[in-house]
Structures are given as structure tokens and as C-alpha cells.
């Protein structure tokens, strides 16, 4: 029977045809798996009061893995949550996180990249005044901290995390 010589093994034509058909199904299956629509992203944010007050820490759980580094970077040893908010992103619409002190973060142009990271535009406002315009690549669960204005003996820090 005619066949294909491959690595000193003679494969029959029916086997080759079967293999090719199977490979096509396999590739289609992989494509469907990879092409699944990403879940609707939820963006969570909180306003922290960083100070050296000897008050017990009240930082949210999702910030805990980073609070030591944040302490080292900011020089403040206490993190207290002043407010938190979250928004569900809808395609074609911006999201807004509002915090006490007339602070708000507008989330724009959210898109997912091939490596799973999310490209996002962030605008920080205090009242109607734009304080910051930034574009960032964020991973789910990895916070972005924005050190804001001073308040009392410390300063206000906004944390933005993708994921509910």
C-alpha cells in the first residue's frame, strides 16, 4: 500500500488522512478555547489614609500583601481605609470610582492585551480639577497606587485594582 516515509516509519495513507482530520479538529478546539470572551472586568478602588499614627491598621485585605512595601516607599507605617468603591466596566463606556474628599478616578479605554494584561486609561480628579492623566498596563489583582494630597499628619493614597 502506498504511504508516507516519516522517520523510518511507513505511515499508511488512511492513517495520515485520519491524523490530518483529527489535527484540524484539535486546532479548532484550541482556537475556541483561546478565543473565549474575557469576563467583564470589575475595577475596585479604595482611598487610604497613610500616616504614622499608632492606630490599628485597617487596610483592605487585597492591599495587605503590598502594605509593607508601601510603608517602605511612603515612609508611613499606618494605612487606614477611608473609602472604597468599585465599578463594572461596560464596553464603550467609562467607569468612575468616587471617593471622599471630592476625589474620583475615571477609567477609560479599557482593553485586554494578548498576555492577559489590561490596558487602561486613568484620570484622577479632585472636584472638577484634573490632577493626573495616565495610561497603564495592569494585571488582575495587582494594584496601582496614586499618592494624592496631604491630609492631617499623613497623605491620601488611591489604590486601583482590576478584579472584584
Amino acid at each position: 500500500m502506498p504511504g508516507v516515509e516519516l522517520c523510518a516509519v511507513r505511515l499508511s495513507k488512511p492513517f495520515c488522512c485520519q491524523f490530518i482530520v483529527g489535527a484540524w479538529f484539535f486546532l479548532i478546539g484550541v482556537g475556541v478555547s483561546l478565543g473565549q470572551a474575557p469576563p467583564v472586568p470589575v475595577i475596585w478602588g479604595c482611598l487610604l489614609y497613610a500616616s504614622n499614627n499608632p492606630s490599628p491598621a485597617q487596610a483592605p485585605d487585597r492591599i495587605n500583601p503590598f502594605d509593607k512595601t508601601l510603608e517602605e516607599e511612603t515612609g508611613f507605617k499606618s494605612l487606614q481605609r477611608v473609602g472604597q468603591n468599585q465599578t463594572v466596566m461596560v464596553a464603550g463606556r467609562d467607569g468612575i470610582l468616587t471617593f471622599p474628599g471630592e476625589l474620583r478616578v475615571m477609567i477609560t479605554n479599557l482593553s485586554q492585551e494578548r498576555d492577559g494584561r489590561l490596558l487602561v486609561g486613568l484620570q484622577v480628579y479632585r472636584g472638577n480639577k484634573e490632577l493626573l492623566l495616565t495610561q497603564a498596563r495592569l494585571r488582575e489583582g495587582v494594584p496601582l497606587f496614586i499618592r494624592g494630597p496631604a491630609w492631617r499628619q499623613g497623605e491620601l493614597i488611591i489604590a486601583v485594582v482590576i478584579g472584584s
Binding site: V21, T74, V82, K129, Q135, A136, V142, L144, A150, L156
Partner: protein, 163 residues
């Protein structure tokens, strides 16, 4: 009783004889003239369209036989190819691909998701700018956190209750 078509065919070919023929011609007298006309036509055709006499009939027969053998061989090849894509083989192919797909799906579910890796992946700041007068934005991503620092902001009055 034989059907008309059978009797008519036999009568035209001259195979209907004796009483059967007489009965048929009695039943269909108008066909008698028709058979005579057909006989004349057949005679003319045989006269005008005689088969050419072949000078080398053996060679002609041999070529004809080769052509027939080639046609038969190609038909065998086509039917063989059709068997490769037969229903059982397609069924096996579908089953094996379904198993492979399930295996890949399970592997993808079990494997650590790239988005849920440890928090060692920093947020990457592509752009950070401010239009507020006297305010400066700087990015610090030295350790496992990324911080954008805004210097020069007005203090929030201490008496403000942030709630």
C-alpha cells in the same frame, strides 16, 4: 396476455409469427404500413452508414482494450480514496479529536492562569502627566508595587471629615 410494447417489439423485429402475428395485425392495421416504412429506413441506414473496414483490426482492438483497462484502474483509485474518508474513519477522527480537545481543555483549566500569577508582576505605566499648575507626577516602580506620586498638590484641610 402480453403487453402491447412486448408484442409490438417482437412484431417489428419479425419475431411475432403465426396466429399471434395475425391477431396483432388485425388489432392494429394502421401499424402495417408503419413497419414497411421502418424497414425501408433501416435498409437506407445500413446502406449509407456501413462500418469502415479496418486495415489493422488487431491493433485497434488492443488499443481499445488498453483504454478500457486504464478507465477501470482510475475508477478503482477513486473508490479507494473514498474509503479513506469513510464514515468509520471520520468517526474515529472525530472521537480522537474530541478526546484531545478535552485533554487540552482540562490542562488549560488546571494550569496556572497567567493573570493569577504571583504579585511580582508590576503595573506598567505608559504615560503619566498632569495639567494642574505646580503639580508634578512621578512614577516609582522599584519593588513589587507601582506608585504614581503627585507632588505639589494642595493639602486637604485637616478639619475636613472624609466620609
Amino acid at each position: 396476455m402480453k403487453p402491447f410494447e412486448e408484442r409490438y417489439t417482437a412484431w417489428v423485429d419479425g419475431l411475432l409469427v403465426g396466429e399471434d402475428r395475425e391477431v396483432f395485425e388485425r388489432e392494429y392495421p394502421m401499424l402495417v404500413g408503419e413497419r414497411e416504412a421502418m424497414g425501408k429506413l433501416q435498409g437506407l441506414i445500413r446502406q449509407q452508414f456501413r462500418a469502415p473496414s479496418l486495415t489493422h483490426p488487431d491493433f485497434f482492438n488492443a488499443e481499445l482494450r488498453k483504454q478500457i483497462e486504464r478507465d477501470q484502474a482510475s475508477q478503482v483509485r477513486v473508490s479507494g480514496q473514498r474509503r479513506w474518508f469513510g464514515l468509520p474513519r471520520l468517526a474515529w477522527a472525530g472521537l480522537s479529536s474530541a478526546v484531545a480537545f478535552l485533554a487540552v481543555a482540562v490542562l488549560m483549566m488546571v494550569a496556572p492562569h497567567p493573570q493569577k500569577e504571583a504579585h511580582d508582576a508590576l503595573a506598567e505605566i505608559l504615560k503619566a502627566q498632569t495639567n494642574a499648575p505646580g503639580v508634578k507626577a512621578t512614577v516609582d516602580s522599584n519593588k513589587n508595587v507601582t506608585i504614581i506620586k503627585l507632588d505639589g498638590l494642595e493639602k486637604v484641610p485637616a478639619e475636613n471629615e472624609l466620609k
